[in-house]
Symmetry: C2
Subunit: 257 residues, 2 copies
C-alpha cells in the first residue's frame, strides 16, 4: 500500500497534459483529506446514497458495480491509485452504483464543498479534473465495445491490457507485471461472463503463453500477442506517451528475464 504524500499520484495525473503552476499544486496539497484504510470488499458507497464525499484512491484498487435482476452483478469500472472514484458527487444528487474495495485499500475522502471551493479558485484545476471525467467516459465506451462485441477471451485479454497500461502510468506495472487482488469471479463480473468460463479463459491464456496469473500476481508474457487477442489499442486511454514506445520496450526486458 504505497503512500508518499497522499496527493502525489493525483498531481502527476493532473499534470499529464502540462505542468500546473506552483499555487495550483499548493492548493491541492492544502485540500483537507481524510485518509482511511478500507478492508477487502468493504462497501464505500452504495447505490441510492446521497453523495457526501469524493473518494481518491491512494493505494490498492476500488471498483464500481451494479446489480442486474436475478442477482447478476456487473463490475462497471476498476479504479487504480490516482483515480478519483466518484467525482460525480460534486454535481449529482444521487449515486447510481456501488463502490467497494477489491482488496485492502487506502483512500482519501474529500468533502465536495472543499473540492468545489478549490476548483472555483482554479479554473485550470477544474479543467484538469473535467478532463479526467472525459477519459473515464472514453474508458466506458471501450468497455461497452468490449462487452458488446468481443468474445470472452478477447474481453479478458483486453481488460488485462487496459489494466497494465493504466498501472504503468502510475508506475505500478514494471516489466508488464502487476499485482491485483482480482478473483476469477470478479474478473467474470467485469467481463460479463460466468466465473466458470472465466477460469477456462484464464487457463487458455496460460496455455497460449500470453499471461501468467497466480495469486494476485499478473505477468504478461507476450504483450503484442495479448493485445492482438484482446483487440487492444491504447489510444482511448489518452496516455501521455505512446504504448508502442513503452509497452514493447518493457516486453523486451521481460522476455530476457
Amino acid at each position: 500500500m504505497e503512500s508518499g504524500r497522499p496527493y502525489s499520484r493525483l498531481l502527476s495525473r493532473l499534470e499529464r497534459y502540462g505542468p500546473l503552476e506552483h499555487h495550483e499544486r499548493q492548493r491541492i496539497s492544502e485540500l483537507p483529506l481524510t485518509v482511511t484504510n478500507v478492508s477487502a470488499h468493504q462497501p464505500i458507497t452504495l447505490q441510492g446514497d446521497k453523495p457526501s464525499r469524493c473518494t481518491l484512491v491512494l493505494g490498492g484498487f476500488l471498483y464500481t458495480h451494479k446489480m442486474a435482476s436475478g442477482g447478476r452483478r456487473q463490475i462497471t469500472s476498476l479504479l487504480v491509485p490516482g483515480d478519483f472514484a466518484d467525482l460525480q458527487a460534486l454535481h449529482l444528487h444521487n449515486v447510481d452504483c456501488n463502490l467497494s474495495a477489491l482488496g485492502p485499500a487506502v483512500v482519501a475522502f474529500v468533502a465536495p464543498a472543499a473540492l468545489n471551493d478549490m476548483l472555483n479558485r482554479s479554473p485550470r484545476l477544474a479543467q484538469a479534473l473535467w478532463r479526467e471525467t472525459f477519459i473515464e467516459a472514453a474508458i466506458y465506451r471501450e468497455w461497452v465495445t468490449n462487452l458488446g462485441r468481443r468474445e470472452s477471451i478477447a474481453r479478458v485479454s483486453h481488460l488485462i491490457c487496459e489494466l497494465a497500461s493504466r498501472l504503468q502510468t502510475v508506475d505500478l506495472a514494471r516489466n508488464l507485471c502487476f499485482s491485483i487482488p482480482l478473483t476469477q469471479a470478479e474478473l467474470a463480473d467485469a467481463c460479463g461472463i460466468s466465473s466458470v468460463h472465466a477460469n477456462r479463459v484464464v487457463q487458455e491464456l496460460r496455455r497460449l503463453e500470453l499471461v501468467e496469473w497466480d495469486s494476485r500476481q499478473v505477468r504478461i508474457r507476450n504483450w503484442s500477442g495479448l493485445a492482438r487477442t484482446g483487440d487492444f489499442s491504447a489510444e482511448y486511454l489518452q496516455l501521455p506517451f505512446c504504448v508502442e514506445e513503452a509497452a514493447p520496450l518493457e516486453e523486451r526486458v521481460s522476455e530476457e528475464a
Copy 2:
C-alpha cells in the same frame, strides 16, 4: 426536425437542476453556432481525428460507435436533441470513437475555444456542462451492465425505456410514443446482438404486447411490463422528475387512446 431557437433545448437541459441567471442564458445565446444539416449515416467525426469542434444535437439523432476486430460494430451511445455529442473535444486531443447521424439530423457546431471562453467566464455554466458529462458516464455504466449482465430481450427493453425517458425530458415522447430512425441492424449494434436476433426480440416484444415498432415509430404499450422485462429503473438518468410520476401517468393516457 424541430428547430425553435437552436439553443433552447440546451438551455432547458442545463436548467434541470436550477435556473440560470439572465446573463448566463445570454452568454449561451451569443455562442457562435454553425447550424448544419447532416444526412442519414453521414459521418461527423471519425476515430483518430483531432477534434476541432463540439457538436450539439438540435434535431434528429446521432450515435457514437467503435469497431471491434472482425468488422463487428458497437454503438456506444445514442444522442438525442439537446445532447452535446463530443464535449470531450474541449479537453482531449484525440477522438476515440466515430460520430454519425442515425437519420437526417440538424446539428450545431461550436468552436471549442468559444465554448471554453464562455465557460471561463461562467463557472456555473461550466459546472452545468460538467454535470452533463457525469450523467453521460452514469448512462455508460448502465450500458455496461446492460451488455454484460442482461439477456437480449432485457437489453432491448432497457434501451427502449431509456430512450423513452430521455426523449420525454425534451418533449419528444408524448404518450410513450416516439419516432427514431433506428433500423434493426442498428438496434443490434447498440445491444451487442446479431441483427437476426434483434428481429426475433422485436417480434417477441410485439407478441408480449409490450411494444409496437413499425417504420421508425415506437409505441410502448405497457410501460411497467417493459420496464420489468428490461430491468429498468430511471434513477441513473438523474432526471429532474420521478418517472414513477411521469411515465405511468402517460401510460394511463396511452392505454385509453
